[in-house]
């Protein structure tokens, strides 16, 4: 392989040149100029990100839910920010192309355009992009783009996450490509129309300016490069940067096996169809030439907002694949090597207008990402990883009665959680979601100043990691109390209360997601993992966990000492050490961290579990549900031993869901047990 690489790089003989090299030699792109410009493009984009982080108004942007890109004259991405949120990956070129399609020749120096349209390859309405053309000698050579998540974009609910939306009309403001600056003149009326459709117009106006100014930073850098290296060289380098990335991917593929791999992950349910998991089926083919995904067998669009438009489906495919090629820069060269047939419109992964898609991030996105992790885990076993916790957003909005003016408040919260166990170590605990490993959780002290919600607990949830030879990373429990508010409602955007975060290679599932209200009181209620506008009153409490990661490998093979360490740190309880790992630990003096492993008892227990566990997975589900309701069997045994899925509040059995979940546990867990 190296020989081909050399031939393409060398400028000495014409014999072996490919078209890439031909173009490069023509443009006079020597290796040094190319490397320097490639790195300079990355700097120009990172500068844009740096500025938006320092000037933004939206706390969601501040928590790093934004991205930046340099696109070429055709709208293809040349370089995406190195710290960008995963979920925006592979959507910025769609938005840029939409502006080009809409405005064509009617694009001028010092114009700035806005777009948030999920039906034109965007993510969801909250993610607003600002796009600035970069001109040289009267001609567009590139576009600078910054996309950030506005705290609110209107619609039925504060924060614009309406779980009950079936179509987009109530979700928020849809911004098709629109001009905000015309030849340097600020179009105040247009900007005002946009921000006036949000709950926080002043903030939105602040972000509109901050984001637009950030794109100017990139423009200045690119023009500096043009000055120094010439327009022709910079334009050639933008193309070569894409070709370069495509080349890396294709060359890596040569060392990988060829074949087809398939898996299915599930969304909890489609309210239009009753109980039953909603399949997202992914087929991956490596043929030595490229990476091909096929999503033709996914379920029809669901009757909630947990659908995905084509932009975010591609994003999941690119971001999921990129996780196994972490060092490769992101641009359209990557998108050229990774192809997908996402099937006709109308499915959960290709919803199309006017299906509601705002919840894609908790729905298909995470399922595609984790499914892709599972597929690549077979191709690159040394980088294998079980399923991670699901992205979740809890929104509490109403009137803050702590001050006389009773301002509108929005407590908009997301948690860290556990990632899946890996081939050589435990999963990462208490980490940001796969949706964006750079998405920061908010400080409780900041939230308490802004909203009448007192956080009662924010800590690691014991036993939340899926058991395995390598345990899933731990999840978190966060509880709160509404202190002094009126007209308050709560909504939740999540999933995986039923399609529980799974293990692989014999590893076990972690714990279900879902919100409890007034837990431990007479009014206790399990609200599930997706609900909208549940009324709350001052004094009400609520709590929810984030799941841990799924386990990797058979938990009965976990080293005894590792289980003991987990018990000392409280990641695993003594009870679950026995139930999940078959390790019997006795307490000597917990105050001094003194515990003892009973080795003979552990060996006997492991033997007993080994002989019985296949039977547990086929036990009568209705009987298991009954034992849960009577308190004989706890939730973790119901899930991890029996593979039975219930309404975790009422204990009602979901028979169809259980059949599906048991089948996937058989495939991912039981079939790997010795």
């Amino acid at each position: 392989m190296t020989d081909t690489a050399i031939a393409q790089q060398s400028g000495t003989s014409g014999a072996n040149h490919t078209s890439h090299h031909g173009a490069r030699a023509l443009q006079g792109l020597d290796p040094v100029t190319f490397e320097v410009l490639k790195n300079a493009f990355a700097t120009s984009v990172d500068l844009m990100s740096e500025q938006i982080l320092r000037t933004c108004y939206s706390f969601v942007i501040y928590s790093r839910d934004f991205s930046s890109a340099l696109c070429d004259a055709d709208g293809n991405t040349v370089m995406q920010g190195s710290g960008d949120i995963a979920v925006h990956v592979g959507t910025l070129h769609f938005q840029c192309k939409a502006v080009l399609e809409e405005f064509g020749k009617d694009i001028h120096p010092n114009d700035v355009f806005a777009i948030n349209d999920p039906y034109r390859g965007g993510t969801h309405f909250n993610d607003v992009s600002f796009i600035r053309p970069i001109f040289s000698e009267g001609e567009i050579i590139a576009f600078a783009q910054n996309k950030g998540h506005w705290a609110d974009i209107g619609g039925n609910v504060p924060g614009s996450f309406d779980v009950n939306a079936k179509e987009h009309f109530g979700e928020g403001l849809r911004i098709t490509p629109v001009r905000i600056w015309s030849k340097g003149v600020f179009l105040h009326d247009v900007a005002q129309l946009l921000v006036s459709n949000t709950r926080a117009p002043q903030q939105a106006m602040g972000d509109l300016h901050a984001q637009s100014e950030a794109t100017a930073v990139c423009e200045r850098e690119i023009l500096r490069l043009v000055d120094k290296y010439s327009k022709q060289t910079v334009v050639a380098a933008m193309q070569e940067t894409q070709d370069y990335v495509e080349r890396i991917v294709r060359r890596r593929l040569v060392t990988l096996p060829q074949g087809t791999w398939e898996t299915t992950d599930y969304i909890d349910f489609d309210p239009g169809k009753g109980e039953g998991l909603v399949p997202i089926k992914i087929k991956l083919t490596l043929d030595g030439e490229g990476i091909h995904y096929d999503l033709n067998d996914c379920a029809p669009a669901v009757a909630t907002f947990l659908n995905s438009g084509y932009g975010t489906t591609f994003s999941a495919i690119y971001a999921g694949t990129k996780t196994f090629f972490p060092d490769i820069p992101l641009n359209s060269g990557f998108y050229a090597a990774v192809k997908a047939d996402i099937g006709p419109e109308g499915t959960v992964v290709n919803a199309g207008w006017p299906f509601a898609v705002t919840g894609f991030c908790s729905g298909p996105y995470e399922k595609l990402m984790n499914g892709i992790f599972e597929l690549w885990s077979q191709i690159m076993p040394e980088r294998a990883m079980a399923c991670a916790f699901n992205l979740e957003y809890l929104l509490v909005g109403g009137r803050d009665k702590r001050t006389e003016s009773s301002p509108y408040f929005m407590w908009y919260d997301w948690m860290a959680g556990g990632w899946g166990g890996r081939a050589s170590k435990d999963g990462a605990g208490a980490s940001a979601p796969v949706f964006g490993p750079g998405l920061a959780v908010q400080p409780v002290e900041g939230q308490e100043r802004l909203s009448p919600v007192l956080t009662t607990m924010h800590q690691i949830a014991t036993d939340s990691g899926g058991p395995g030879r390598f345990r899933g990373g731990v999840g978190i429990e966060k509880g709160g109390m509404l202190t002094d508010a009126t007209d308050t409602v709560m909504s939740y955007c999540c999933d995986r209360a039923r399609s529980i975060t799974w293990g692989i290679e014999g590893g076990l599932p972690s714990i279900p997601h879902g919100v409890w209200i007034n837990k431990g009181t007479e009014d206790e209620k399990f609200l599930g993992s997706n609900f909208s506008s549940v009324p709350l009153e001052s004094g009400d409490t609520f709590t929810r966990p984030s799941a841990g990661g799924g386990g990797f490998g058979d938990p009965l093979e976990r080293l005894l000492g590792e289980v003991l360490d987990d018990v000392i740190d409280g990641y695993v309880s003594i009870g679950r050490a026995e139930a999940d790992y078959g390790v019997v630990i006795t307490e000597i003096d917990a105050e001094l961290d003194e515990f003892e492993i009973d080795v003979p008892a552990s060996e006997a227990l492991r033997a007993r579990i080994r002989s019985q566990r296949r039977g547990w997975l086929t036990e009568d589900a209705a009987a298991v549900a009954a034992r849960y309701r009577s308190g004989e069997t706890d939730m973790l045994d119901v899930i991890r031993r029996h593979g039975v899925i219930l309404d975790w509040g009422s204990g009602e059995l979901y028979p169809k869901t259980t059949v599906q979940f048991r089948a996937l546990m058989e495939r991912r867990s039981a079939s790997h047990w010795k």
Partner: protein, 687 residues
Amino acid sequence: MANVRVAVDVGGTFTDVCIFDDETQRMRVTKVPSTPSDPMLAVMNGVKRAEINLADVSLFSHGTTVATNALITRNFPSAAMVTTRGFRDVIEIRDGTKDDLWDAYNDVSGPYIRRRDRFEVTERTDFAGQPVTPLDEVDARRVAALLRKRGVKTIAVCFLNSYANPEHEIRMRKILEEEIPEATVTTSAEILPEIFEHDRFNTAVSNAVLAPLVSGYVNRLADELKNGGYRGDLLLLHSGGGSMTPRMVKRYPVRLAASGIAAGAIAAKHIAQQCGYDNAVGLDMGGTSTDIALVSGGELRITKEWQVEYGHPIVFPSIEVLTIGAGGGSLAHIDIAGSLRNGPQSAGADPGPACYDGGGDQPTNTDANIALNRLGSTLAGGAKTLQRSLALEAIHRVIAEPLGMADAEAAHAVLQVANANMADAVRLISIRRGYDPRDFALIAFGGAGALHGAEVARELDIPTVVVPPNPGVTSALGCLLVDIRHDLSAMYTALASAADAEDLEARFVELETEATARLRHEGVSEENSVLQRTISMRYHGQWRSLAVPIGSGRGSLQDAIATFHQEHEREFAFRQDDQPVEIYQLALSAVGKTPKPSFVPARTLVKDPGDPATHRQVYFGKDGWIDTPVYDRGRLPAGATFIGPAIIDQLDSTTVVPPHTRAEIDEWLNIRIHLTNVGTEQEQAND
């Protein structure tokens, strides 16, 4: 007669001792190997080697990596954290983010105190400082007894919202001190009275884990110096660019966490000042990494976003230094898609560059420099011999052959990529703050800085490069030049238009009282104390704030608001005058001036550099191989001026003066390289 100043800077490999004699006004430098198991040994070895009589020393200052290394290796005495019930995991959950967003196998390092050593007590204060749940005294005593039983030596008390009301933390400290008198107790609001629990808790936890170790080290050294006859205070360089005495180190050991990095930046600032540059970039290039610092308007940029390892913030004002993985040992390679890359992987000390003949067969920047004859074949005055043939072989095999280039061309390409990477880093740190690098001078030092400085500057269109007299030991010079400094802050959230000027004044006076007390405690007299107020502001609704200086009289707030608008425009290229401005935080820096060495300029009568020691063929890109004079730096007189190309050799460094540039030795014996194209129209125009 106390007339000698001594500064000791401990690095990973060498401990540098810098001695300034007030009488002769001469500076000299000694290098001894570092002793990582007990860094004090190297300090005292250096003192001995330099033949310093401690009774003659008027000021002894010290930059140390003791704290940094302890944090990285997690080598602490038994420590514990006591926190609000329900919040045991704040320092483990952090903000949840990862440094490496894409490599799912690359994890953030674990917290400084493990979960098993974190304990909860029942108490709660709300956002406004009102107690929601009183501190449960029985619970508090239970935890204290437990910690005593566990033999804990140092404890961090971290309660939620303690920045708004520290009462519970103070009470908890009292109980711990009663129950475990021998333990050190750090409370979060005392260390950092600021909002955001993870930042504050982690800063307090860092302080707690470092307390016994760092103050133990500092006290041992102070005793040793005292026994040797030193009568002054040992001054420890801290992250904020000032120093503190052992008395304050005891309370704030975490401030020493970036002691080592600060020294180089301070030296760069000093050299810039000496040369009359208000704006300068410090480029401190060593074997594995390069530290870049920015001086603007005569001051170093200070940041509060600082950490030794990702995810574990230490929120004290620290000199802003950007460290990148580019050094003499950085490896060059061709990647799978045929692109020429440089770093961040490094050959390190073992096996080292190919030319070290230590088994390394991959080319590094050092190999490229020796291949082009920029670097001679001996280092450190003959202490180390380099094998040029091995360097050439590595470059030929790994770079030249695959790219179809001549060896020299390939070695030059390696350096060009390295220089461009450094230039990108300088661009990041300057442009993101709204500065144009072209308005700056480049101060190049560290073992490899002077080899690369001129070409990095050319990449950035920086007009002048300054190479200080002893580039390899410049950091130690930084230690000589520091004042005592404390940084204090207080939360203050209010719309600027509604702020009560008297209340604001009262809060600043509170800070000043505390700061003055600290300076007095360290023996600083009133006339040597300088207090500077700053106020952090933002447009209402923004998340980040900008700190601007504020005076104390009437109208000072209005002036500060005007400055805020200006700074926002300078840094971010826009301002919003119609937007309300919000005050976020007050801060105070308290500086205790220490007497500085007075360097005397040399006379610069001579223009003639004298005869070069030798000539050799050196490769300069499109100018090809040129017969180049090699000067011995020690013999170049002040005032000497010459046109490049030239190589200037000295014990600890080699300076490259490229063709078409002009070098002069200034009155401070710095080499200044002017990058104007000598002999071209451009220079005539510039002149």
